[in-house]
Structure formats: C-alpha cells, structure tokens
C-alpha cells in the first residue's frame, strides 16, 4: 500500500520568503575565496619561477655561458619576472 500523494498546491506567491532580504554583501566568504586563489597563484608562480631559473642555470652551465646569454622560453622569463623571490 502506498501513502497517498499530497494534492499539490500550485501558487505563485512564496510565503516564507516574501519580504526577506539580505542587504550585506558576502565580503568575508568571497574575500576568503579570492585570498585562496591569490595564495594558490603565488605558490604556483614561486615554484614555476624556481623551476625556470633551474632550467636556465642548467642550460647556461651546459653551454658554458652566463645566464643572461641563455635564450630562455617566454614562460620561463614570465615566471621569473612575476616572482619577487627569484
């Protein structure tokens, strides 16, 4: 035996939400999310720059030239430039 299906009341009003408002912006939640995104990008740039400078150094050592003379890839230059620690 099944329990009877309730007769669906179809209305266009939303009684429980009428008049409800959230006026404040979700600054804390959104701010934390953005902080995580920025922190993650910082970690990726740091390790990317570390890898890039290692690659440039290795090529320089292999060719017996200075690091400035090494022709680096665009992304290697970009990561080293973006990271203040490299």
């Amino acid at each position: 035996m099944k329990s009877a299906v309730p007769n669906q009341v179809i209305e266009t009003t939303t009684p429980n939400l009428d008049g409800f408002e959230i006026t404040r912006r979700p600054l804390i939640g959104f701010g934390l999310l953005i902080s995580s995104v920025i922190g993650t990008l910082a970690v990726l740039i740091f390790f990317g720059a570390w890898a890039s400078s290692d690659r440039i150094e290795n090529r320089a050592l292999a060719a017996g030239i200075s690091e400035i003379q090494v022709e680096s890839e665009w992304w290697e230059d970009g990561l080293v430039l973006a990271c203040p620690l490299h």
């Binding site: 035996m1 099944k2 009877a4 007769n7 669906q8 979700p26 939640g29 934390l32 922190g39």
Partner: protein, 453 residues
Amino acid sequence: MRNAALWFDRRFGLEEHTIAHYAWVIVAIAGVVQMVGAAIRMAFGVLVDPLVEAFGWTPGSIGLAYALMSIVTALASPMAGYLGNRFGARRTMIAGTVLFFIGMMWTSQTQQIWELYVAYGIVFGISQALLLVPVVPAVAAWFRRHLGLGTGIMMVSWSLGPALVIQVLAVLFENVGWSQAFVIVGVVGTGTLLVILLFFKNTPEDAGKVAYGTLETDNPLITSGNVFISTQKEFQGFVYKTNAFWNLINIHFLGCVGHAVILVGIIPLGISKGLSPLTAAGVLTTISIVSVATRFGAPVLAERISPKMVMFASFFGQGVGVFLLLTANTTLDFYIFAVVWAIPYGGEGTAFPVLIRKYFGHTPMGTTYGWQLLGAGLGMALGGVIPGMVFDITGTYTWAIILSAVFSLAGSVAILLLENTRMQLIPNWPEMESKPVGSEIPSVTTGIAEPGI
C-alpha cells in the same frame, strides 16, 4: 520484504530508526552510482601502461587526459547541480549514464591521442559530473531528519567503490586487454545504472511517500510545481549573498588540495624512502580502508554535535597529520601515518551536506553543492600535480608535504570563520500551509516504517 525489515528493526532494537523505508533504497542506489562514477576516475591508473605499450604515447601526454577530465568535471559540476534541481536527479543521471556508455566505448576504440582527450577528458568529465553531483542532494531530499546517517552510509561507497572497481579492472586488463575491459565495464556499468535508476525517485513526493524522519506535526515541503521552480530561483539568489556559500567553495578547494597531494604522492614518496612498490601501495590501501570509519561517522557526529566542529577537527587533523611524513623512513612509520592520517581525512569531505542543511534548511541543494564540487575538483587537480612538480624541482617531497599541511590548515581557519550553524541563514524552504487531505504522515516516531515499501 517489509515484514523482514520490521523484524530486523525489532531484533536490533532500532526504536528510533527503521530500515523499512524507501529512503534506504535511494541511499543504496546512490552508493552504486558513486561506485560506477568512481570507475571512470579509477580506470585511469591502470590504463596508462597499456596505452604506452600499444601506441607509444608518453605517460605525460596520457596523463593530460586525466587532468582534462578532472577540470571538465569540476567546471561541469555547477551546471550538473542546476540540472539536478531543474529536471530532477534521475533524468540528469540518465544523461550521465548515456555519456558514460559513449565515453567507455569510444575510449576502448581510441587510436589517436586526441580521441583519448575527447572521449576520456571531455565526455567522461561531463558524465562524471552528471552522475556524482545530483545524487547527494537527491539523497538529502529523502531525509527530513537524520541526514547525517543517510549521508554517512552513502559516503562509505567513496572508499569501497574505488577499492572494488580497481581490482575488477586490473583482472580484466590482465585477461582480456584494456580495450575489451573498457567495453565490458562500459556495458555492465551502463546496464547496472539503467536498471537501478528505474527504482530511483527524485523526491519522496514523486514516490508517494514521506521523507525519512518526518514527524506527524511536520507540514509537507513543496517540491514540485511552479512554486518550486520560482521559489527555488529566488532562494538560490539569497544563497549567493551569504558568506557561507563562497566560503564553502573555498573550504572544499583547500581541503581537496591538502589530501590530493598525499593521495597522489604517497606511493612515490614511499618508494623514494626505500619501500617496495607493493608496500607503498599497501599504505594507500590502508588509508582507504581506515577512512571508511570516519566517512560514515563524520556526518553522523556533525548532525549530533556540530558540523563546524567536526569539520574543523578533520581539516586540522589532516593538516597536522601530514607532518608525520617528514620523519617517516620505515615501513612501520608509513603505516602509522596511514592509520593516523586516514581518520581526519575520512571525515574531511563528508559533512558538507549536513552543513548545507543547517545553513539553508530543506532547499534543494543541487546548485549549491555543485558549486562546492567545482572547488573540490579544481583542488583535486591542483593537488594532483603538486607532488610531481615539487619533486622535479627540489628532488624531494618535503615542500609537497608542507604545502599539503598549509592548504589543510588554511581550510580549518576558514571553517572557523563560517557563520554559526544554530541559525538558518535564509528562512526555511516553503512548507505547504496545511496538510493535504488524505496524506498519510506516519506517527511521531522519527524513523517509523512507512507503508508500501
């Protein structure tokens, strides 16, 4: 069937609960869906070597398909959640099943690397989102109370599913080859999903039943009709304005980076410390098995005590626990780590539905949960690349371990900044103003057996 269930209730003294309720059928179906969904992800590990052998592709280029699948799943998750709310979880999961079949067959016939990217990366990616995202909110709809118990039982399949599926795939690969294995898993998986989805009902109302834990004094919730659609849109608009919505995406992301680093890196780390590949794999298996306990227990405790407290303890434990790896050198050290770390890790991700219920009441949580899985998916993808990237640069896994801890501990701080769970953030999801004539709401015992199971 019902009599057997009632006998079971009496035999085991389940005064407050009953197994004679259709909600448990829904939980069981959800568990199977999660297992088949997990097959998509788990299949990859055993797929790499055969593809290298058959086509000569590099492991790196094959691995790109996995990364693509993870990102596509993450990006498709909010849409999958919305579709679950709008058209119902059942239809959404059937669409996911069709894509699962296409993806499996296409992958089995792959000849070019781009085909692997499309079949596995994109088709499977979308399929996984359509299968795994709507199922959790659908289970939630079947629990007016005791959602923690329902969620906990379902989440156990997250651990057991991969453990089972990976063994089946390994045996099939060995005996019939990778291509035939995909055909077999595709046909059996699709058939299983289509059969069990015949018994799946999106809401208790669809099945002519009441949600588990409904009291006699509760008014039924509005779950279909034009009020449902319009109110849902309005309600979701308010959800976007809460701190909790954005912070929960953030927390899911941080937690998933934290454990993905360990899950992906533990085997190579163990091998680098002198463990045999088999022993190192045993560490990962131990983590899977031990975490079953807290996968079940965390949502139950979250409902009884406080979801914030349980989640904070899990994230904090996951973060602090990884420091054991900094001094791990022997097999015993690694197994101690596996047991100690698996306890908080198991509880890390399973209390989210309970927390959403606390904040947003009985609103359909598909879209909200889908957005959270976007954070989780991106976190898993990032956490998956960190160990290899760090090892290539530094020659050790030390920085990967530290990063795992930093992400998990940052997640625990973010949990502390969540709103208090004692108060709903938005007024409750609309109830019908009076009980419909002729409906049979069971007695005041919360888990009372329902008629007609």
